[in-house]
Amino acid sequence: MSVTSINRGGEVTIRDLSKSFPIAGRELAVLRSLDLDIRSGECLVIVGASGSGKTTLLRILAGLEAADNGTVAIDGRKVEGVGAERAVIFQEPRLLPWLSVLGNVAFGLEVRGVPKPEAEERARFYIALVGLAEFADAWPRQLSGGMAQRVGIARALTVQPGILLLDEPLGALDAMTKISMQEELARIWSEENVTMVLVTHDLEEAIYLADRVLILPKEKGGAARLISIDLPRPRDRSESHFVRYREGLLREFGLH
């Protein structure tokens, strides 16, 4: 069975997007008329200070949150609610504890009406892709944090989305696991031909994975900035250009 597909990445067009939340009786503007084009198949990484609206932006793209103003369109179609061309990977794995690894990974497809045998066959492919073939029958509570997160990633990949939305997917992992998972994400992204939008706090992770980095401003009136990372892949964290990008990003945050 061949499950890798030709370019199925989606193109995202964000126009004049605004969102505010009422906090303590006042309207807190989180996103202020944001314009952004995400190219099909690109890896866009969103960084920004805590509270700058990274999660909010991702949730709007996912269709879990409605914008106050402006539009999001995917391949020209306006986003209203969740959609089959998008999958979300949260900071926590969010596995169903009563399903095995296989059951969890097949869950997305089954919910979409794919017959169980077919769903499980495809699930097995992606379980193997994230390196957990031997754990297909394990229960979630028997997995380490990194393994559980990989199950969550496999579940998202199994529905073969055009756009993969990830909110600090590696945020809870230890440094070693994190680095190997970053390599895995880079590999999956290039093999699966998917548009990836990833939120992270980790600048090194951003440079390692991104085609472009979007920096969300913290203070009112600041503008979002886009930085292209023009480095060949696979990338080398210790290489001088990589280090220079890192210093540049630190400077953006006023930390250098």
Partner: protein, 287 residues
């Protein structure tokens, strides 16, 4: 089962075990396993056996009044007579029928109702005040009312048990449904799950452990109310036998009936525990 028996293999096992592993230490392993099992049995049932032994000694040596606390062997004899002779079997049957009927009716009503109440805000809002009122009113206090309404026969007995069993079942089912992790619900939504699918695949399995808490509490409550109802206006049943034997000063028989009640409680609980194990293997730390 003596201390010597326990200690010897432990001592040798730790010494020689290392050398013997390569040379087929099967006998050793087996011995160690037996020792471990013995230790486990002692640590689990030691206090219970001690309690029974103390009782026996106290009653047969005259420390306590044997007419009030008869020795264990007399209770066992009365129990054996009642069971093997068949005189208590009819009581067990009628008690099981009352409690079983009431428990089954409570399950059939409380679980579906609880699932709906936990899911549909409007239903819960509407039913919660009356539920709280009923819950806070002791079922025993209502028993005279049920007797007035349903007569002193089977109906009022089954109904009072049913009534008391309903609440732990209902409340635990509701909280099981409401406490399902909203992050899991959101995950299911992201994959496009519709409401019924979310209910079937996320809410319901997530509520099962809590429903079992309700079932076990309900079983305990059912037995409790069974006894209470059989102490008033019954002429058959284990609860009746406890009262009747005490009245006729057949103290061993009274204790025999109490032992049967305890056994029924233990069996009911054990059945539910093993059912839960089977249904919730994902949750079970030993498997």
């Amino acid at each position: 089962m003596t201390l010597q028996h326990m200690e010897r293999p432990v001592g040798i096992g730790t010494h020689e075990g290392t050398e013997r592993i390569g040379a087929g230490g099967l006998g050793m392993d087996f011995q160690r396993l037996t020792v471990r099992t013995t230790v486990r049995i002692i640590s689990r049932y030691g206090v219970l056996v001690g309690f029974l032994a103390l009782w026996q000694a106290a009653a047969s040596s005259g420390w306590v009044n044997a007419a009030v606390l008869p020795p264990v062997d007399m209770i066992v004899a009365a129990l054996w007579k009642g069971l093997a002779g068949g005189s208590l079997l009819g009581d067990i049957a009628i008690s099981l029928q009352r409690a079983g009927l009431a428990f089954a009716a409570a399950v059939i009503i409380a679980i579906p109702l609880g699932l709906v109440m936990g899911q549909v805000r409007a239903v819960e809002t509407a039913l919660d005040p009356i539920l709280q009122l009923f819950r806070q009113t002791s079922a025993l206090a209502l028993y005279p009312v049920f007797i007035l309404l349903l007569g002193l026969g089977e109906a009022s007995k089954v109904f009072v048990i049913f009534w008391a069993t309903l609440f732990p079942l209902l409340l635990n089912t509701i909280s099981g449904v409401k406490e399902v992790d909203p992050k899991l619900l959101e995950m299911a939504r992201v994959y496009g799950a519709r409401r019924l699918t979310v209910f079937r695949r996320v809410v319901l399995p997530g509520a099962v452990p809590s429903i079992f808490v309700g079932l076990r509490l309900g079983a305990t409550t059912a037995l409790l109310l069974l006894i209470a109802s059989e102490m008033i206006g019954a002429n058959k049943g284990i609860g009746f036998q406890v009262m009747n034997a005490q009245y006729n000063f057949q103290i061993p028989l009274m204790f025999a009936a109490i032992v049967i009640l305890a056994a029924l409680g233990l069996i009911a609980n054990q059945v539910l525990v093993s059912l839960q194990r089977r249904l919730c293997r994902w949750n079970d730390p030993v498997s």
